[in-house]
């Protein structure tokens, strides 16, 4: 085996790729060659490190120097200073990675990582996802070997059941139980069954599954093979959205490599078990994350759900018993098989075991991907890991569960996060989106944003979702436009409860949640919009007025000159006035005023 004195890890997640990490990689390659360092220093293109805020990220080992926001020209300095001369480039270090004594902190000691526990993400940012040998070096395919050679299918299912693993796609159904239902269907070569992986991640701002697929694709393949062994299936499908090109490419590479190594295909590990996996691309319809719609789509039909029961475990893909799990669920499976059910069950809360990955976004300092043990409080995630809210603004709410979830206000910050607590709090786990809102967010507008998403993504099959959610959105639009009427809140609540009670699938049944939870927690904001025609956060444009304080206005005329609609009048050195009829509320005047004379209400 080759030995290297240094390893350069360049993040190849989508976030860092977007901010130019591929160019950094190419530059490193070129410079290492120029300096004849290729035999001494290994360059690794990894999956996501999680701290997307600091991207593009480069980590150099053995020192563990965490370089953040690395620009192309910085690469030369890292090579010439750090790699050639052994001097860490301090100015590029991520501020949180430098201790008080100016030494470089170990990755796990950085605030962002300290409270995290990486199980699903354990290989992300650690190995080269396009190299199966690296995966194998980190215990890869050991779990499959153990399952096939030391365990019966019943043992496997028992282990998963005992671990307490619940579906990470949002519903939280016990994974072992799901496998058991499918396993109980007649087994044998004449009975076709399927194992599917839901990688149609679509919640706005969520990218947990993408990161796993990009950073550790073999973990998903291995887990699917284990599920196939457990239930008696020989074929798997990964349904992944086409908007995840890096994930798709790495999956295809991984599948090819696994086949070459005989880890997929006929007689795996010399046993009677054969299993293969195909990739199916989704066109980006959110509803295709719903299990029956996903299967319809794999079958080549319109992506819309079919009624359950019967559940897919009994009648699923092509009418055959099918196990469908989410990417993150699979990412836990191999570790459970290797380390045992008790190891996994030791993490988390009574009814929610293990860890959960969240995509932190919105008004938060450390935007990125975090994995924490179940039971970590919202406060720990937002403040200790996420670094709190930028600009010293006040926290207002955190939205979990994506378009199906709800908003949790300040007094719920100490809620330990698990499936049941979030539902009790009026939200849900969802797939792991976590969007933080501060005092500048209008909660009516937030509800409208999420509902607008589901209205757009409704498949149109059932009446309540197709028409009902649209009507709710129309009412919210009216309220935000200052045309809300007495009775609108009741209309929203009536529509919401009907849609929840009668919609065909989970998308429709949960679509009203963001509205219901904001009405519950922030009813006063709705009422201010409806009855006082006022948006307290100053977001809803039609409810805003920009006003000039005559006492502060010096009559410099700057505002009148930048106003695109000529709404501001006034003589030089005299107080100016905004004509509200002409004002389009663009805010240009306020931005330009040097005397703080313009405010919005």
């Amino acid at each position: 085996m080759e030995l290297f004195r240094s390893h350069i890890l360049v993040c190849g997640g989508t976030g860092c790729t977007s901010s130019g990490s591929t160019q950094l990689l190419e530059r490193f390659e070129k410079l290492l060659e120029q300096n004849k360092l290729t035999k001494e220093i290994k360059l690794v293109h990894t999956g996501c490190f999680g701290l997307c805020e600091a991207g593009p990220v480069v980590i150099v080992y053995p020192e563990g120097a965490f370089y953040s926001r690395v620009a192309l020209e910085d690469v030369d300095e890292i090579v010439s200073e750090h790699l050639v001369k052994g001097r860490i480039v301090s100015r590029l270090l991520y501020h949180g990675s430098v201790s008080e004594d100016n030494t470089v902190k170990a990755l796990d000691d950085i605030d962002f990582y300290q409270k995290q526990k990486r199980v699903a993400l354990r290989n992300c940012g650690v190995i080269d996802p396009e190299n199966i040998d690296e995966y194998i070096a980190f215990d890869g395919y050991k779990a499959l070997c153990k399952a096939l050679t030391e365990m019966t299918p019943e043992n496997v299912i028992d282990t998963i059941k005992k671990s307490g693993l619940r579906g990470r796609g949002g519903g939280g159904f016990p994974t072992g139980l799901k496998w058991e239902f499918s396993a109980k269907q007649p087994r044998g070569p004449e009975y076709q069954k399927y194992v599917c992986c839901n990688a149609d991640e679509g919640d706005p701002g969520a990218f947990m599954d993408r990161s796993v697929l990009e950073g550790d694709p073999h973990a998903v393949l291995e887990a699917m093979a284990i599920a196939g062994y457990a239930i008696g299936a020989s074929q798997g499908y990964i349904y992944v959205r086409a908007e995840y090109p890096i994930a798709v490419r790495r999956l295809e590479i991984a599948i090819r490599q696994a086949r070459e190594y005989g880890l997929l295909g006929e007689h795996i590990f010399g046993t009677d078990f054969s299993f293969d996996i195909g990739v199916r691309l989704g066109a980006g319809a959110f509803v295709c994350g719903e299990e029956t719609a996903l299967m319809n789509s794999i079958q080549g039909h319109r992506g819309e759900p079919w009624p359950r029961p019967p559940f897919p475990a009994v009648r699923g893909l092509f009418g055959k018993p099918t196990v469908l799990n989410n990417v993150e669920t699979y990412a836990n499976v191999c570790q459970i098989i290797l380390n045992g059910a008790d190891w996994f069950a030791a993490m988390g809360t009574e009814k929610s075991k293990g860890t959960k990955v969240f995509a932190l976004g919105g008004k938060i300092n450390n935007t990125g991907l975090v994995e924490v043990p179940m039971g970590t409080t919202l406060r720990e995630i937002i403040y200790d890991i996420g670094g709190g809210i930028p600009g010293g603004k006040a926290f207002k709410a955190v939205q979990t569960g994506g378009p199906s979830g709800g908003c949790l206000p300040t007094h719920m910050l100490d809620t330990p996060v698990d499936y049941d607590n979030l539902i009790a709090a009026g939200s849900m786990m969802g797939s792991g989106g976590m969007i933080v809102m501060d005092e500048d967010n209008c909660m009516v507008d937030i509800a409208r944003f999420f509902l607008d998403f589901t209205v757009d993504e409704s498949c149109g099959k059932c009446t309540p979702c197709r028409i009902g959610t649209r009507r709710m959105l129309e009412i919210l639009n009216r309220i935000c436009d200052g045309k809300g009427e007495d009775g609108d809140l009741e209309r929203l609540e009536n529509l919401a409860s009907n849609i929840k009670a009668t919609a065909l699938c989970g998308l429709g049944q949960t679509a009203p949640n963001p509205v219901l939870s904001t009405i519950k927690q922030f009813r006063n904001e709705y009422e201010a919009h409806i009855y006082e025609k006022r948006c307290p956060a100053g977001i809803c444009k039609k409810l805003l007025s920009y006003l000039i304080d005559p006492a502060k206005c010096k009559g410099c005329t700057l505002c009148a000159r930048v106003c695109p609609t000529g709404a501001i009048s006034g003589k030089v050195k005299e107080a100016h006035l905004i004509d509200q009829k002409k004002c389009i509320k663009c805010g240009a005047c306020m931005e330009k005023c040097k005397f703080g004379a313009i405010s919005k209400k």
Binding site: A285, R302, W306, P307, P309, P310, V455, D456, E457, S458, C459, G460, K461, C462, T463, P464, C465, R466, I467, G468, T469, R470, R471, E474, R491, N494, L495, N498, K500, A501, T502, A503, L504, Q509
Partner: protein, 580 residues
Amino acid sequence: MNNITLTIDGVKVSVPAGTTVLEAAKGAGIRIPTMCYIKDLNEIGACRLCVVDTGARALQAACVLPAAEGMNVKTNTPAVRDARKMNLELLLSNHDKKCLSCVRSTNCELQSLCREYGVDDENRYAGSMTETHIDDLSPSIVRNNAKCILCRRCTAVCQKVQNVGVIGPVKRGFHTQISCAWGDPLSDTACINCGQCIAVCPTGALTEKDDTDKVFAALADPKKHVVVQPAPAVRAALGEEFGIPMGTSVTGKMATALRRLGFDKVYDTNFAADLTILEEANELVDRVKSGGVLPMITSCSPGWIKFCEHAYPEFLPNLSSCKSPHEMEGAVIKSYYAEKYGIDPKDIVVVSVMPCTAKKFEADRPELGHNGLADVDIVITTRELARMIKLAGIDFANLPEGDFDDMLGESTGAAVIFGVSGGVMEAALRTAYEVITGKKLEKLDFLDVRGMKGVKEATYDLDGLELKVAVASSTGAASKLLDAVKSGEKSYTFIEVMGCPGGCINGGGQPLVSPTEREKNNPLVLRAKAIYDEDAAKPVRKSHESLAVQKLYDEYFEKPNSHKAHEILHTHYTARPKYK
């Protein structure tokens, strides 16, 4: 199979495993409202009007919910009623509510459910409407998506029953609508104009192209000689539009009504049905004897013909070259009849009353005419005739029995059974037997080819000549049959295909019967019975014994398949692409 016991509204019900809650409730005398549901055909749980309370987190759609042991279902709680009502209100909020001008008013499933649930005019959930347009470019079918409630019954019947599949849902969410591929008009697709979509549409979103104005205009024009001919199946269903029980044949009243509407001659397509048998049976005998293309396939059903042209063009040589009966009747009226009575055929307007919307398209076919004149000028459906009778103030139910005009209105029992699947086959067999064997046929009822099965098969021994026949009704059933013929799995001498399931009695132009009503009164059975009863009551039951037809040959065509007969009574077909 195991039985399951559950409780519905306090009533204990025992049903076989696999039964839905909806069906179980029916057994207990509990009606749960449905809209998108058609038993065994469209069980998709989309409209959410059949929701019931099972104690689960959400209400469940009874139409797709398998009954489970010990289940306790409530179908009539305030919450359930409110939910159904709100879903109706939501449907209405995106529905063109011009009931006054809607042809389906008083016969609309949405309207009657709204009434049942006390939906008022308050329009609580008024909002924007899905952008739609009317497609009326087809000669047969008008689609108005502003009235569509997306139950997808039309899609199911088009795809699953007819194997045509030219309509389906496009776009998503609130913008979803039923459309042809690429938003093309129906007339640019492989639509066969069968109108089965209309027959299942709960609202006025799918209707026949109304041609009654054209008929009224012709009747009011003193220069026009207007001749009418109703198809065999019309008499078996027309009465339903006037409150006469399903399965009652109204031939006599229909003749009287047509006369009172002011038609100059009231003839009968049945005459031409007998004529068709003579042409077709002799064509068959000729193909069998001279080694022509076999199996020969009937050509009476215009839906089937267009389907064959699009989907099975390789079978076009197998199609009988006979025009369909009403086209033959029209051709005879504009040739023989016009010559005999000295009327300029240009002044004759032939109106066909058909159980069929595809006949409207057929009448427009350029090849179905003579000397630049179409054989048939206007086709109206049974429903349109009923509307004309109502508008004319004719008290249909109390009309005296009348009769058709001489000769071209005379027919045998073999003609009337054209209206039901297997009828053309049976009529042809009655004649072919006697033509081939020269013996008198004693047993006239060919029971093997009767009944409502999609595909029926029989083998007959005609004095040593083995005749293997098959009968298919619905183009879906025809596809299966033809695939089997194509693969060599099956071989036949003669095949009858009717485009609609059950034949013309269940045509797309017939009085509408909702899927729920069909479960109680099956028009396929009842209307067929009316037809077979009429056949049994006829003094002459073999086409070749029709004196009127014999007279026509004597005076005009000489003999079946003569040169003149070919010129006037036969046609040809064109392969058409599946996609434009």
